[in-house]
Amino acid sequence: MKRQIPVFLVFIFGVFMVFQYFSPHEASEWVYKFLMDWIYIIGIFAMALGIWSLIHVSYDKIKHKRHDWGYSVVTLAALFIMTFFGITGFNENGDWGFYFMTQEGLTNPMFLNFFNYILVPIETTMFSLLAFFIASAAYRAFRARNVLASMLLVSALIVMLRFNPYFGDAFAFYMNKTAAWLLNVPNMAAKRAILIGIGLGMVGTALKVVLGIERGYMGKG
């Protein structure tokens, strides 16, 4: 029972959604939107599980004084402070208070400061680490070990040299043109082949899930 009902639910809703796609009727669209709301709302409720997991893991670390447990205090403190600022704030009269149903918390100056001066700088800096990793990855991996690796290397080099002004105008012109060609022709072919393959793989996997052949998502292999 514990396993049959979920498989049955997947089947019913999966098949319904497949056929819904072919019916643009108002009623069918309404059901589609409503079911999308289900997914969304289930997702929000699940957030509580996520936050609980984060608190639980951090608390465990602190309780057992595991290695680096001090940093978990930082995580927990940041989590609670951010949540607190997000539900408190000043309304238009300047009164401070808890606001659950209205969005005063989102304009709380401390909430915005945490967002602008902690979250944003760390996020963008993490992102900019890519400048370094792309360099080290290129150095480490671009070796002409065999034909396959050489092709990767040569086409990357041509595209990287496309705006180099040092070897004369004619060189730059042809590099530019070759780079554009590489991006529009072989890259396009590669993308299209992969996309068609992925499409079939996706539909195949989804069909297996809907028909109950594939139950890996419930741990039943």
């Binding site: 497949v18 796609y21 072919f22 019916s23 643009p24 009727h25 108002e26 009623a27 069918s28 669209e29 997914i39 289930i42 997702g43 699940a46 957030m47 599980l49 996520g50 936050i51 997991s53 984060l54 639980h56 893991v57 680096d68 979250l119 760390i122 996020e123 963008t124 993490m126 992102f127 680490l129 890519l130 990793f133 792309i134 080290s136 990855a137 991996a141 990767l152 993308k191 992969i194 996309l195 068609i196 393959g197 992925i198 079939l200 793989g201 996706m202 539909v203 195949g204 989804a206 069909l207 297996k208 899930v209 052949i213 594939e214 890996g216 998502y217 419930m218 741990g219 039943k220 292999g221």
Partner: protein
């Protein structure tokens, strides 16, 4: 994250809709001496096909003064009414040079832009000059009605494709179930998974399994769940440690369930605890920062990346390389494949990710679906060759069979 984006865009849209209610054209004294233009002709209005109703399409022959003649027409304004006698309401406008307007209604009944279904409607189009007072109205067209359609005719090719593909799959699955031998060629990335688990056991170091930024409603994540269930089963048998940091709470929930069942199947239910699969945060780079930390502190023997990855792919894979882990990746995000191919030891490209679950299980039923995918690919190849030949001989009727209308 997508939801938040959608919400933000909705807020922005409402905001800009508010801005849009500013009067655009004012009258100026210099404009008084414009002669009225000729009206448009041949106005026809019909129901929009394959839709949820509440929409009609207008077509007309432009005014002779549009871009030629007196060259005074600036825009066309469209008017609608529920009877030819009652006052007409302006429902929209298009700039000069257009001869078509899609009058798409809004579904909320209270809205000004609501178009009732199954009701007689009347339309009129005005050719308007730069002075809104100087205009020429067309004759009223009507009555016309809009309908909601139960079946989308433009999507027939998709329906056929799904049915044929589903049929192929059912056929091969039944064949496989009866015990026919199906050959699949070996994939390097797949056999690497088995070796990697063995290596982790020998070294006594954990295995890190990462879903990427996919949410549980993406098929790549669902495929990844299956791969995780196979990996977890082996991990449980070898008594190795498994770490699964998650980006999405539902993915975490499902992954906990998957790992738990796999440990149960492997006969080590007591070795499982919920903290092996844990949530970090739903923020791309904060998640990456934490996973990077895990990689350098736990020093996993193997990192397995399966699912949907975005810009973080290279940050993760490079940090993993620094930690000296064997890395196996698989994603269907085409833009990130180059980075995984460069930085990881093995990469499952696109469709191989979906095939991986079947490969790892080695169950004949699963291999049946791979066979169906191959036949579908063969069909795509043959049809596109036929299509190219047909298109160059002017047989567009053949290629149009495959055209999907939205």
């Amino acid at each position: 994250m997508r939801y938040i984006f959608v919400i933000f865009s909705l807020v922005l849209l409402t905001f800009s809709a508010g801005l849009a209610q500013v009067d655009t054209l004012g009258v100026d004294s210099i404009l008084l001496n414009i002669a009225p233009p000729s009206p448009i002709s041949n106005l026809t209005v019909y129901d929009k096909a394959n839709d949820h109703g509440h929409a009609l399409i207008l077509e007309w022959t432009p005014s002779p003064d549009d871009g030629a003649g007196m060259n005074t027409v600036m825009l066309y304004e469209i008017f609608r009414s529920e009877s030819p006698d009652s006052p007409f309401v302006n429902v929209g406008s298009v700039p000069l040079g257009n001869s078509r307007y899609d009058n798409i209604g809004i579904l909320e009944k209270e809205s000004r832009d609501y178009i009732p279904d199954n009701t007689d409607l009347y339309y009129r189009v005005d050719a308007v000059t730069i002075n809104p007072e100087v205009r020429a109205s067309s004759e009223v067209f009507g009555p016309v009605r809009s309908y909601s359609n139960w079946f989308h005719r433009g999507r027939v090719p998709v329906l056929l494709a799904v049915l044929i593909f589903g049929g192929l799959m059912m056929y091969f699955v039944t064949v496989a179930r009866k015990g026919a031998e199906l050959y699949v060629r070996p994939l390097a990335g797949i056999s690497a998974v088995d070796d990697a688990i063995g290596r982790a056991t020998e070294m006594g170091r954990p295995i890190l399994y990462i879903f990427g930024l996919g949410t549980a409603d993406m098929i790549s994540t669902i495929a990844s769940f299956t791969i995780l269930s196979r990996v977890a089963k082996q991990v449980a048998e070898y008594q190795t440690q498994l770490i699964v940091p998650c980006y999405d709470p539902i993915v975490m929930t499902v992954a906990q369930e998957v790992v738990k069942s796999s440990y149960l199947d492997a006969g080590h239910p007591d070795a499982y605890n919920d903290d092996m699969v844990f949530y970090i945060t739903t923020n791309q780079f904060a998640y990456v920062a934490a996973v990077n930390g895990i990689m350098l502190r736990e020093l996993p023997a193997t990192n397995i990346y399966m699912g949907k990855f975005y810009a973080e792919s290279l940050i993760l894979a490079e940090t993993g390389a620094v930690a000296g882990s064997i890395q196996i990746a698989g994603t269907d995000e085409v833009g990130q494949l180059p980075f995984f191919i460069i930085a990881c030891d093995y990469t499952l490209i696109g469709e191989e990710l979906y095939a991986a679950s079947a490969y790892l299980g080695r169950e004949p039923i699963m291999l049946g679906s791979l066979k169906a995918q191959d036949y579908a690919k063969a069909a795509v190849i043959i049809l596109s060759i036929l299509g190219i030949i047909a298109a160059n001989f002017g047989l567009t009727a053949f290629t149009n069979i495959f055209k999907v209308l939205d």
